[in-house]
Symmetry: C2
Subunit: 711 residues, 2 copies
């Protein structure tokens, strides 16, 4: 019954997404001039995605084989568990299915996003509200598809295994592969997309703006289309895969905790109630989907209004409805007889999660918008040149880790304590899981706002390149500025939810280690091996970031060379008489980005395995060392990702602040200094930072699924 509700609501969300897709595609798609640009973007984005998913698909199949062999031959199932062959099959198939669903969601989202840009641009010629709605609804296709597919996938796997008469409480641990598949795809999608977008951006800027002296988004620049493609593959496909993974891993992790909670409280829950407890995360997510649909549909902006206000109203509706769904859901499903306090304790945990997501939105705004002190301080420091701009920006980036950390700390502890005092035994961790569900409840809306970013950015590019009148350009500029904010917010949200989810994935790992027959009494970092595990985990974050940033530089070099080559080969390009070869530039970034993503990707997957094996073989403390590797690595990852994301956002907006006319405005030496900071921040906020979100979650899932290797 419950599963019918979950699957039904996720199919409903998919249907709404499909409907929105139709709505967007029916809109006017501009002039022939505009279509030429938009077609080039579509072509480039789809070519990249095809090649990228082919690479990822190959890697996934190889890893699937490894997983199967590992589970079939090296993992002795616990007495309670299904036979080794069964477990190997379900884990491997769910891994492949997770990878597949993530891919499908990414492709559908992108398909619509790269078709929404021109419709947004076209609508901007008549009405701000219309353009805003098209961009948001285009983004919502991606947002709803990602979250609904992730939910549908888990629901379907559960339903199939239940139909095969596996015991419901055993099912979640059989499908952890789904989350691993999703995070494996997310790692490469985000790395590849992140490297692509910034290599194209930096490459286009350095030769175009700096060397040739032509403005941004100028059609004479051969890399301009690659740059516009990049926004889609980074922010839409990359972030989509990121949040697909978050919701998938969280769904499964929370189900595992739910079944654990039932076991820890024997006799409290009837068999039906046990299933309800375990499916609660899916139900809550389904309610969140409905809340997000309503939120997206109510957004409407007056012509003279700040479009951000309109988006914020939609977000508030979503958050309110999600909170209401939560309260109802906990009353319905987490309300065992004789424990009157339980449901409202858990409801409060959910509200804490929603409140955390709102807090993250505000903190990110404070550190990245130019209305506030931090960005203003960077702008002021730019007066004395690029060096002081960088120093001030880096100080802001370091500082901005403080409030999110305190927020996450408070959320973890408050929800843990609320859960623990619910009357049920061992319910603390479940409380934290409920808070994570709350935080992820609005994921579809957040992701819609995020994809709004590349759509409006592209719309701006299309308007610019097709030489539309000034007042239309102003309209798309306003939307583009809002898009920059929403992209920054999503990153803050993604890292916050990753941090909360991490804590519940730790416990899934510890449960798995216990299920393998050697439970850990503790993860004691006062032991030298365990301390060293933590040290190496934190180091991975630094090293991975180095590789991600270097990858951008490497890929950018090939773009720079290509653009220079085209300018030299045909002087007509710069005069505007010949059309540059956009396709070649797109190809070169594609190849460069896919090649450059291999090294950081391998490091991310390989290092936890290497650490686990070395410490198991030489010191017999593989599992505990890996646990500390995972936990301290997660801590370092949260901080470094926050630093990189918000630092990059702050530099970007310091430049934008100066462009409003402060400190001499555009073209002044102060502006030039701020452009340096903006360029530095680009690979921080769009490549390394977002890749770290995924790294954190990948660490959890890789250690969870490969735990048999370390024990």
């Amino acid at each position: 019954m419950l599963m019918v509700l979950v699957l039904g609501l996720s199919v409903l969300a998919l249907a709404v997404a499909w409907g929105l897709r139709g709505y967007v595609l029916r809109q006017d798609n501009g002039t022939a001039d505009m279509r030429k640009i938009s077609d080039a973007i579509q072509e480039g984005a789809e070519a990249f995605l095809r090649r990228q998913y082919r690479t990822i698909g190959t890697l996934s199949i190889a890893l699937g084989v490894v997983i199967y062999v590992l589970y079939a031959f090296f993992r002795k199932p616990h007495a309670d568990e299904p036979a080794a062959a069964t477990l190997a099959l379900t884990t491997t198939l769910s891994f492949v299915f997770g990878a597949l669903c993530s891919g499908v969601a990414g492709i559908v989202g992108m398909y619509v996003a790269v078709r929404s840009n021109i419709r947004t641009a076209s609508a901007a010629r008549t009405s701000l509200n219309k353009a805003l709605q098209i961009a948001l609804r285009g983004g919502a296709v991606s947002g709803l598809f990602v979250v609904a597919m992730s939910l549908f996938g888990v629901g379907l796997l559960y339903t199939i295994l239940e139909a095969l008469h596996f015991e419901p409480t055993k099912i979640p641990l059989m499908i952890v592969g789904y989350g691993f598949g999703a995070s494996f795809v997310a790692l490469f999608a985000q790395l590849g997309g992140g490297i692509y977008t910034k290599a194209a951006d930096v490459g286009a800027d350095l030769v175009g703006k700096v060397e040739a002296g032509i403005p941004e988004d100028d059609p004479r620049n051969p890399a301009v289309i690659a740059d516009l493609v990049g926004d889609n593959v980074g922010d839409c496909a990359g972030r989509g895969a990121d949040l697909f993974e978050s919701t998938a891993a969280e769904n499964i992790g929370a189900m595992i905790l739910g079944s654990g909670l039932a076991l820890a409280n024997p006799g409290v829950f009837s068999p039906t109630q046990v299933v309800g407890l375990m499916l609660f995360p899916l139900v809550a997510r389904a309610f969140g989907l409905v809340a997000s649909i309503i939120g997206v549909l109510v957004v409407k902006a007056r012509e003279d209004e700040d479009p951000m206000h309109a988006l914020n109203r939609g977000y508030m509706w979503t958050a309110l409805l999600a909170a209401a769904g939560f309260v109802g859901g906990t009353y319905w499903l987490l309300n065992p007889p004789g424990f009157a306090a339980a449901w409202w304790h858990f409801a409060l945990c959910g509200v804490i999660g929603i409140a955390t997501s709102i807090a993250f939105v505000y903190i990110t705004q404070y550190y990245t918008e130019y209305r506030y002190r931090p960005v203003k301080s960077i702008a002021a420091a730019s007066v004395t040149g690029p060096a002081t701009n960088i120093i001030a920006g880096f100080a802001v980036a370091l500082e901005c880790t403080a409030l999110p950390t305190v927020t996450i700390s408070a959320a973890i502890i408050a929800s843990y304590k609320l859960g623990a005092s619910s009357g049920l035994a061992h319910a603390g961790l479940f409380g934290t899981a409920v808070a994570t569900m709350g935080m992820l409840g609005t994921a579809a809306y957040i992701l819609a706002m995020d994809t709004f970013g590349p759509i409006t950015d592209n719309a701006g590019g299309i308007i610019e390149m097709s030489h539309q009148p000034e007042d239309i350009r102003k309209r798309t500029d306003r939307l583009d500025a809002v898009g920059n904010t929403t992209k920054a917010l999503t990153k803050g949200y993604a890292i916050g939810s990753a941090a909360l989810a991490a804590f519940l994935l730790f416990s899934a790992y510890l449960d798995e280690v216990a299920a393998l027959g050697s439970p850990l009494a503790s993860v004691d970092i006062s032991k030298p091996e365990v301390f060293v595990g933590g040290l190496l985990g934190a180091m991975l974050v630094f090293w991975f970031s180095a590789l991600a940033i270097s990858a951008v530089t490497k890929a950018a070099v090939s773009v720079i060379q290509e653009v220079r080559r085209q300018f030299q080969a045909d002087p007509g390009i710069l005069k505007g008489t010949s059309r540059p070869d956009y396709g070649r530039a797109v190809d070169i970034v594609t190849v460069g980005a896919l090649k450059a993503m291999v090294a950081p990707g391998l490091l991310a997957v390989g290092m936890p395995i290497a650490v686990g094996l070395v410490f198991k073989v030489f010191f017999h403390v593989g599992a505990e060392t890996v646990a500390s590797f995972l936990m301290v690595g997660t801590i370092a990852g949260i901080l470094m990702a926050t630093l990189l994301n918000n630092g990059g956002g702050a530099w970007d907006n310091a430049k934008k602040f100066i462009e409003t006319g402060e400190y001499g405005g555009k073209g002044s030496p102060t502006h030039k200094a701020a452009v340096v900071g903006d360029t530095v921040g680009d690979p921080f906020k769009d490549t390394a930072g977002p890749s770290l979100h995924v790294l954190i979650k990948l660490l959890s899932t890789v250690t969870l699924v490969l735990a048999p290797l370390f024990v």
Copy 2:
């Protein structure tokens, strides 16, 4: 008997230091022109030190009162321990004594350093070797004084308490205040000095080089003397206090472990042998002092030789002699009958420590010298402007954390396993302690090389400002370049030894918690509170770095304003007809730096206390949360300090590489881009990075001494 040896050798080292002081002061002190400059530096440095130590003294006395009250009224001594009143007295007095000894060592070192510069400059007029020897011996006064005072202080406290008939094995825990005093002074000395040096440097450069277009070290710049003073207060006084603290804390921590080892192996050691075991760290340090003296005295350079080779030869002599002393010392003192393997296991641990210090020297050179790939990559990236210079440099800074982390990890585990397999029970941690002793064995020589840095830098400045001929200038430039390398090496060494020492200070903290009656079974970061403790500990490192970097900016602003004011008030300054008011600039930096050091200093001391109290009062897990705060904070600190130190060094030398004529050489756009990186790196490598070394150790000592608050 042993103590006579220890005190004797430390007095010998102090005497040699005094002798070297006499040697340096007897040298020719140049022309009147040169003396004018040197006098101004002396005056400025001493004025800063006076004010700084006055501030630190006041803070220390206040904290001393807090410690006394805490120990006298809130800490119930364990059955084995001396009465509360006694413990309160010894802890408080040793705290004050530690602060005092650190201060005396800092002042004496500085006194000689600011008088060695002019003598080095004067000698450079005739011979490279003579100049090199004077600079190194001047530096050795600081190096020997710091290490010998730290050893002498611990030895004296021990001797007094032993004379008062306290049981020897109880004494180390009674004098932990000594280490806390030392680290408290070190924090403010390094913060204040680091802020001073970079505020003066950045301020002088921005107005002088950028705005007025006059070269570096130009006497027309009113901040030029402040800049030269800064090198002394940062690298000499700051790093001296840093290593004073390392050796003091390590001495006491290792003594505690030694007495613990004796207790864990009842009947193995005779009472005399127990004392020998416990005093081994002091004996090893005393041997290291002798090795350093010999190392300093053998340094001699041929006129055509790279002075770095000469310094390296001296270092190799020191390392070899220290290793020999170690082997002898372990055979003599760590050789209980019936445990034939023990002594050579520990001797190997010592050798591991020495090897670690050599490894750190080479790794630091690899990442910061322009002969190697990393710095060359930054230089190459500067061709496309400051943004790519910064991106490439930041990638190198992130990457360079990998090898040091692996080295430290290997050293911790290898020495732990060697100790554990020595045949003695519970000797693993003592093995790590012995490795730390090995690493710190060459501390005096390393510190001599470090202080060599500001001395030769100042000598270069004096030669430049007194308009000496080109060939003399070249000689001091060569020495100055070597000084830059030795300063970078010392930072690598300081962070490496802090990382090793941290691990043994953790165990001292855990022992103290156990002594307070609530031993921790583990520091289990899978508990939510303990995980949050780790998260907050890592965040402290980021936030503290932000405050340290911002402090430089704040203090630099006041310098910039003052220099601009002087240029406007008297146009004769820029024409070279009037003398600028150097003193006023020095005063302004002094006041600015001392003001700016308060916020990060308070955060460093206050946050561990706040975390401990909050988690004790609300969640009753103060001690364990603080332990994880400390350990994860240390991990983050090691990584961030390495990033900041080596990143800064790499940017600096990328600029220097271009100045050798690569990529267009000095004055080219590429050089300008590299100057941006160099300026960004300045507060990284000279303020935030070094302050983090001290922060790490302060965390250990503050939690150790204030543990009664959290239990």
